[in-house]
């Protein structure tokens, strides 16, 4: 109803025309917040997942998964609030919060991916004279890659969506448009912020999917064409 009214459409077009520099800046901030958090998440969670899969020590695994799970279950608003006394407000605590959220899905997928490699294949690699590091990088990693990638894709979409809350602790981003839109009762501002976040998430997912398919086509031509 709201979207269909011609008055709203007019307001929306005017808004885009007048404030597109703001919109671009907010999108840029949003992108940086999400990308930095995701990159940190990958850098931390992938190696930990590999390590856990490689040395199946039960208490370490349940410990790490437990901690990551706790981060996952803290309500996002509460997590942001909790970080303020520790890191103040602004970009740093926002990135930290998003990073903590990204850990669990990436970790779990990496772990599953590495565990899914057929032990017969690893045994045969060992028997033919692959060293431990060579086995990891040339056999396990390529075979676990599709799992890791799907973890990263899911996380990316979540992070871009959650990053809209970062504005509440002064980190800017598209959430800023949405919150101020609510404040001044301008629906077109809310819609513009939300739409930009959605488009950003779709583009990021599409890009990662493309990378995944390219790599997968090289690795498993048959599976990719299915």
């Amino acid at each position: 109803m709201l979207l269909l009214s011609s008055e709203f459409l007019q307001d929306f077009v005017d808004l885009i025309r007048e404030r597109y520099p703001d919109l671009l800046r907010a999108t840029g901030q949003h992108l940086i917040l999400s990308a930095v958090a995701l990159a940190l998440g990958v850098l931390v969670a992938v190696p930990i997942g590999m390590l856990l899969a490689h040395h199946p020590v039960k208490w370490a695994r349940s410990g790490v998964f437990g901690v990551a799970n706790i981060f996952q279950t803290i309500p996002s608003l509460a997590l942001l609030a909790l970080l303020i006394p520790l890191f103040g407000i602004g970009t740093t605590p926002a990135i930290l919060a998003l990073f903590l959220y990204s850990l669990m899905p990436i970790l779990r997928n990496t772990y599953t991916g590495f565990r899914s490699v057929d032990p017969a294949i690893l045994e045969s690699a060992r028997g033919m004279g692959y060293g431990a590091a060579q086995r990891l990088m040339r056999i396990q990693f390529p075979l676990a890659f599709p799992y890791i990638m799907s973890g990263i894709r899911v996380t990316t979409v979540y992070i871009i969506s959650w990053a809209t809350l970062a504005t509440l602790i002064g980190a800017g981003g598209l959430g800023q448009l949405i919150v101020s839109g609510i404040g001044v009762n301008k629906e077109e501002l809310v819609v513009a912020g939300a739409a930009a976040a959605i488009i950003l998430a779709l583009l990021a997912d599409g890009l990662l999917g493309g990378i995944e398919r390219r790599v997968a086509r090289r690795a498993h031509p048959k599976a990719a064409s299915k």
């Binding site: 057929d118 017969a120 294949i121 045994e123 045969s124 690699a125 060992r126 028997g127 033919m128 004279g129 692959y130 060293g131 060579q134 056999i139 390529p142 075979l143 690795a219 498993h220 031509p221 048959k222 599976a223």
Partner: protein, 392 residues
């Protein structure tokens, strides 16, 4: 030569996998380790490339104690084939075969040459298979790749851990034949683990029979068949039952040739097999005659159970010594009618079909002719099934 001296293996939980193994594995031979599951045969094999460390004793390869060698480098000098094939699914066939040469840092062109050479060796056209992935190959083809991958860096020693046990009976027999053929040329030291006595008898130069972490008997197949060390060995040889399925009946055609009717996988044996082995093979295949065929598939003669039993007491004789030459053969593609006339005129119970250079391709037996006719009759007329099954 690989020498085990007083080798023991005890696991942390106290299980004694190997008690006291003294064993010499001779160079250029196929040594088959066999025994019931849990007897320590796989453990013994994995000690050789240090996938398992012994808790006592020494293992020497060409006089060098392998405990002093770097395990990763040692493994690159020893070919390794496992039961579940273990091809890397994310690598092409060429990459898979070239794994060890690449680990050894061979030049790229040299690796490629070697890969093509090996694919040709097992009859897989490099232009077709080089860039395929393992999942695109049949089980038998995959294990051929597994075998040539182990040969890639031309190691002196090859370890094979039940390599053919996951294959269907026909592929298994083909791969066993190919292994024997390859071994005639390559003369590697092969350590082969199996639980299948028929396989052991077929391929082994030496059989090492194990039980409960100890060697019960290690000897030539012929000697083990003739002089089993104890009741365990006897029961292990005897309890094995017929495993291989006969090839199915040929597809009927209107003007049949001998190729439609012949049995493609009749019981054959290499000329150097001993007489006891021949008897064992006849028993297993339920036939009274063996065709003697060499590694190039050339037909040398036939041996009937009577030829064998006449001279059975002479332990050193092989089937080549007692075989009869083949008097009548027909070339591949001959019309069946001609072959039947020949069989009828000469009172032959069977007739070999040969290709170029006297290569053996199949055998027409009275049974195969009847089977063929039964098929034609059953498919040609409604209600013919009852007659057909009565005939068969």
């Amino acid at each position: 030569m690989i020498v085990f001296t007083g080798v023991k293996k005890q696991y942390d939980d106290g299980f004694q996998a190997l008690r006291n193994i003294d064993l010499e594995i001779k160079e250029g031979e196929i040594t088959v380790l066999i025994g019931p599951s849990g007897c320590g045969k796989t453990t013994t094999m994995k000690l050789i490339n240090r996938l398992i460390q012994p808790t006592g004793g020494t293992i020497r390869i060409q006089g060098r104690d392998i405990a002093s060698l770097n395990p990763v480098e040692l493994r690159r000098q020893i070919g390794y084939v496992i039961q579940n094939i273990g091809l890397f699914p994310h690598m092409t066939i060429a990459k898979n075969v070239g794994v060890v040469p690449r680990l050894l840092k061979w030049e790229k062109a040299r690796v490629e040459r070697r890969v093509d050479e090996l694919l040709n060796l097992v009859g897989l056209n490099p232009d077709i298979y080089r860039n395929r992935y393992p999942s695109e190959l049949s089980g038998g083809q995959q294990q051929r790749i597994g075998v040539i991958r182990a040969l890639a860096a031309d190691p002196d020693i090859i370890l094979m851990d039940e390599p053919f046990s996951a294959l269907d009976p026909i592929s298994r027999e083909q791969l066993q034949d190919e292994l024997i053929r390859l071994q005639q040329e390559l003369r590697k030291t092969i350590v082969f683990v199996t639980h299948d006595m028929d396989e052991a008898l077929k391929i082994a130069d030496t059989i090492v029979l194990m039980k409960d972490g100890e060697i019960v008997q290690a000897d030539r197949p012929e000697r083990i068949l003739r002089h089993p060390a104890n009741d365990f060995v006897k029961s292990f040889i005897g309890k094995k039952r017929l495993q291989s399925a006969e090839a199915g009946p040929a597809v009927p055609e209107l003007a049949p040739t001998v190729d439609d009717v012949m049995v493609e996988q009749p019981a054959t044996a290499f000329p150097n097999r001993g007489l006891a082995e021949a008897v064992k093979l006849m028993e297993r295949r339920r036939v009274d005659t063996l065709l003697i065929v060499d590694k190039n598939n050339k037909l040398h003669g036939t041996v009937s159970i009577y030829n064998v039993l006449d001279q059975y007491a002479e332990e050193n004789k092989t089937v080549a010594d007692v075989m009869k030459p083949v008097e009548h053969t027909v070339p591949s593609g001959t019309p069946l009618a001609f072959a039947l006339q020949l069989m009828s005129a000469k009172q032959l119970s069977n007739l070999a079909v040969v290709g170029e250079d006297n290569r053996f391709v199949g055998l027409i037996t009275r049974g195969s002719v009847v089977r063929h006719m039964a098929d034609l009759y059953a498919s040609g007329k409604d209600g013919g099934d009852a007659h057909a099954s009565a005939v068969v």
